[in-house]
Symmetry: C2
């Protein structure tokens, strides 16, 4: 049992629409343990308290020892020191005997010093406090999370195909490239549900246009792919190209749908298409209007999209580029600049991208009130997605696939997120593992990283280990950047081994999809830190590289190179299932305690909890072909095992979820529903 | 027993002076397992082979899965994907049943694809092969390393004070700043042997000058510090400011001591002082001449230096800056650049620093032969240090303290290295741990990282954990950058705990210094990977986070935040010593196998091998005050323990090393020599 309290700050900039529940009590004062003075909120920590939360952020699962800013940012490199990533997730949970959580419902930047300056102190600051602080008290951290999730509303549910394996690359130029990918996956017998279209499918990067030279028969092409169970997912960027005659531009201008500068003219920035205006997504008419443009693409047969660059990312603004250029032109003695003058010159250029001063020059008009973008920055991507999603729901019965790069809490009701432009680094696989529970807490159940890494070059081993983890994440996408090593699985030696891995994902679909539905309906975590499940087990408190996935299993991924063994702590007796393929596995009873376990490349280890089970089906090469009612249960019988299987049609909005009670008395049971 | 073979390529650019031994056999052909064709050298790997080497490079101890370039580089961020760091250490050891090592004695860039493109293949490439390939075969990897170390010659031996704790920060401006540091260390009873002077002590960044406003009485100041046992260590940069009347500049010009451009004029680049010429250190006269300038500083009482920016680092060259500026000036329609044109404009500036094209524009004159710098790039820092060191040895009896940023194999005979501009990242602590054995293999015994991290902000916890490791590295320096959080130990809460840590280092000095001398004289490793010591223990093969330090002990540092426990594998029975301070510790017999061990903050765990011992002395606040003959032995008696204690005066060149045989029959023994 947990109780939510709402403390409102004196100032409120805008209705954020972050929360939907009314399961809270208004209060006039913050509780004793939350000190609010000198524009700072402080909370004392005990050395053994673990601080979860902050959704998409760098560093460990336990956020202690870092400074984080919630300010949606296009971050080229995700580093230990990066204060922000693409999302603003102002939720902190202090896990301890009397746990407490805080949520700041504000559209503005918040900075969290979580035991950085002082190990045992959380310091939270805003330039000027606005919105509300919700604080949640309860006996148990999981209760607190559930109550918070009820407050912020039910998470996005993608179509079933969103749980299939997806291949993406910035660099697919035309039908031929896509066809080649699809053919190669088919040839190598590797399941595939979706291929992404990155920016090059558009006509000169213009939203809702198609480069018809590259895709002369897109409608037919889409239809042909769909027959194979493969969906195309095009990118949609936030910025609208300034181009006379281009319908989206013309309509936006005509109706004042674009963000403004201080003089009331459309705000100008440069992104992929060159100069653009940004739709004023905070204006609900503009947001609806932009959403309605998806119709053009949907009419071609498309049913999935990724909204990108919606922090919004800015390469430069003409205003600030002019300053940089002017400084260069005025530099007289370029031959002997002193070093600080030189850096000032260089700095002008280096600071052009995503400059806060540009955000401060940009305005929204919401209900006739002009709002400075900087103050409401974190709502931008959210409202782009909201408009898109609402258009879908009003006009289509089918669930559309939708993910976004930028996000804030509340957006989880409308779409999933991918974790942005990571790199082919082992440390980013590790970050992926540690980020998932924190994303779940703030409502983002449908999420995953660019498996194998977006930037830089991946090795076969990294891709393998990353897949071994990602095959448990709802979004299961391999995406890479132009200029990096080709990362499609058939490009590595012995693709048969990759086929086995991906087929295991498809075999596990009954369990993974059921657990997703369960987490969504029950407001629980899909990825649970051990410390939250085993609250009295001191050993679990610091474990960040093992996760409970759903209700039945624990995983302990390998995230270091040149490693075929790892330590695994079992908080209770479990059944180890060592998968070499979906129908090639061993089981072994393992006792509570510390183990040093062999995990060869392409082996996937699953630990089934006592009395729990895993459900598998015969894998197919597309989720559309899976039989989700013909199952095999692998159970840790103790003396029996039970499972509540959730299933819907995977296709329509508000489709009914059927629940099946499954009981197994043997380790392996064949089940026909 | 190991045997070295030398295979010479047809081309030789210059005498590198890398090797000094004649313990090799010339051969006309490479052995069967080294395939040399199509300008590529290939070696097949077995899945369980471990590849060590490459000295200062990123990623793990086992280099498999990466591409590395030996090309001395000023790298702002050390990332998993960074191919180069500051050193060029062309040594690879394939550890397996029939181990083999390779060393490429060349001044040019070499690229090592160690199982990156193909997991089981090493591919080594040069633009044009030159110099020689030494290959070493033996029964045992440690024999191979020893033979290689004999080939490349005895490592640098610093004065004893170089083993004390050192405080540095880019940002100390004047005497008062330094005095404040020294006073605060004294007040907080934290031992200290050296404080560094970064670039601001110079008069406008001119080598061998002193900013006399900031340091009006430097000679007295130095003398006063020395009375406390504290040494000042100023930085010396490679570039010489172009300034009429500045003696170093004038002499260099007069004697043609500077590197040239293609027309024979002194090559111009910009670094800290603004425009500079680079001394042509490959010209032995120029190198000697530059070395002789240290006399000015030594006459002030200085006896330690760090040679920096000697890759050489280049901020920009006027030639290339002009191109960047011209492109900006010629940009007509800056208001609507397409994104690729914009990036080209920006790229011109971004590519200014350390541009290979600049290196290709620069020339050396060696024995009247004009050599392109690019071809001999990796010898530059080395020859700067060589000149410095040779001047010292010819003119002073005392051992001078000397470290360098850039290096290549061979330079280890003349100075130590610090591992460059790392950051306050946990992953850089981990990198530090994994890099040490590989540095030792190529002769760099005197080394260490900027403890706590140079760039970005450190937490108390990170500094503590880093110190817990660094107190075993010969170079034990805390260094941080201007603009980052103050990292001097007294700036964190409860400095008493830091005092305990640093005192433990001083207490351990007999062991650490003796083991250093031993590794130097015996051509052994100070930091040994477990896999090399316990060759038949399969468990050791993948362990990268435990190290054998010297002859007697194993360490297992904590390198993750929010952690107070870790797994430790013991390859044999050991005695755990849990230090909370030098005279506050517990011991515990531990058996071979896997352990999950508590390691609280400020605890230092040492595992003593059977029949081995640790030697401690009463710590003082400077190494100069230590009594290295009044010792306490903590021994893992089995049934006795033996130790060969190496000691010299810690001060003079070629001072005699005394060896003492110490035997202990009890866990704790008081020893007076």
């Amino acid at each position: 049992m947990a109780i939510i309290y709402k403390y409102s700050f004196a100032k409120k900039i805008i209705e954020t629409n972050t929360i939907v529940g009314n399961n809270y009590n208004d209060v006039k004062e913050l509780p004793q343990e939350i000190i609010y003075e000198n524009n700072e909120i402080r909370i004392n920590l005990n050395p053994r308290d673990v601080v979860y939360g902050l959704g998409q952020s760098t560093r460990g699962m336990n956020k202690r020892g870092g400074i984080y800013s919630s300010f949606c940012s296009d971050v080229v490199m995700h580093l230990e020191e990066s204060p922000s990533l693409y999302g603003a997730h102002n939720f902190l949970l202090i896990h301890r005997d009397n746990p407490i959580a805080l949520f700041f419902d504000t559209p503005s930047k918040v900075t969290f010093d979580v035991g950085f300056t002082d190990s045992n102190l959380i310091r939270i600051t805003m330039e000027e406090w606005n919105g509300a602080c919700f604080f949640i008290k309860g006996e148990n951290s999981l209760d607190i999370i559930k109550e918070f999730r009820i407050l912020i509303g039910e998470s996005y549910l993608p179509p079933l195909y969103g749980f299939g394996y997806q291949q993406s690359r910035w660099g697919y130029k035309n039908e031929e490239d896509i066809k080649n990918v699809v053919d190669k996956y088919e040839e190598n017998d590797i399941p595939l549900d979706a291929v992404y279209l990155d920016i090059d499918y558009m006509e000169r990067f213009k939203d809702f246009t198609i480069n018809s030279e590259a895709f002369p028969n897109l409608k037919d092409f889409i239809a042909n792919l769909k027959q194979k169970g493969i969906h195309l997912i095009p990118i949609i960027d936030a910025g609208v190209k300034i181009e006379s005659g281009y319908d989206v531009y013309e309509e936006g201008i005509k109706n004042n749908y674009f963000c403004q500068d201080e003089n009331g003219n459309p705000f100008i920035a440069s992104v992929w298409p060159g100069l653009v205006h940004f739709p004023d997504f905070l204006n609900s008419n503009a947001s609806k209007w932009f959403g309605s443009h998806y119709k053009k693409l949907i009419s071609l047969g498309l049913d999935g999209f990724w909204n990108d660059m919606n922090e919004p990312a800015i390469f430069y603004t003409p205003k600030r580029l002019e300053i940089a250029i002017k400084a260069v032109k005025e530099t007289k003695d370029t031959l002997d600049l002193n070093v600080y003058d030189y850096w000032a010159l260089l700095g002008n250029f280096e600071k052009l991208a995503n400059n806060i001063l540009d955000y401060k020059d940009m305005y929204h008009v919401v209900e006739n009130k002009k709002l400075n973008h900087y103050d409401v920055h974190n709502l931008y991507g959210y409202n782009m997605v909201k408009g898109t999603s609402e258009y879908f729901k009003e006009n289509y019965k089918e669930r559309m696939f939708l993910i976004s790069r930028s996000s804030c809490i509340g957006m989880h009701r409308y779409s999933g997120i991918w974790t942005g432009d990571n790199r082919s680094w082992w440390s980013h696989l590790e970050l992926n593992i540690k980020m998932m529970p924190n994303l779940n807490m703030v409502g983002f159940l449908y999420s995953g990283a660019d498996t194998g890494g977006f930037g830089s070059d991946a090795t076969r081993e990294l891709v393998c280990r990353w897949l071994e983890f990602s095959l448990f994440t709802p979004l299961f996408r391999n995406h890479s950047s132009i200029g990096t090593r080709n990362q499609e699985l058939y490009n590595f030696s012995n693709p048969k081994e990759f086929s086995n891995l991906i087929k295991l994902r498809y075999a596990l679909m009954p369990y993974l999809y059921s657990e997703y539905l369960k987490a969504l309906k029950n407001n629980t975590l899909l990825f649970t830190p051990l410390a939250l499940k085993y609250q009295n087990d001191e050993c679990c408190l610091e474990i960040e590289d093992e996760l409970i996935v759903g209700d039945s299993i624990m995983i302990a991924p390998v995230y270091k190179p040149n490693t075929t063994k790892r330590y695994v702590y079992l908080p209770e007796d479990m059944l180890l299932v060592r998968f070499r393929g979906y129908n090639d596995y061993d089981t072994k009873k393992m006792s509570k305690g510390h183990h040093f376990i062999s995990v060869k490349l392409f082996e996937v280890l699953v630990f089934i909890l006592p009395g729990k089970m895993l459900l598998l089906t015969e894998p197919k090469n597309s989720t559309s072909k899976l039989n989700m009612l013909d199952l095999i249960a692998i159970a840790n019988v103790n003396p029996t095992a039970k499972y509540e299987y959730f299933l819907d049609d995977g296709k329509y909005i508000n489709s009914e979820i059927k629940k099946y009670e499954i009981v197994a008395n043997e380790e392996k049971t064949i089940i026909k529903l």
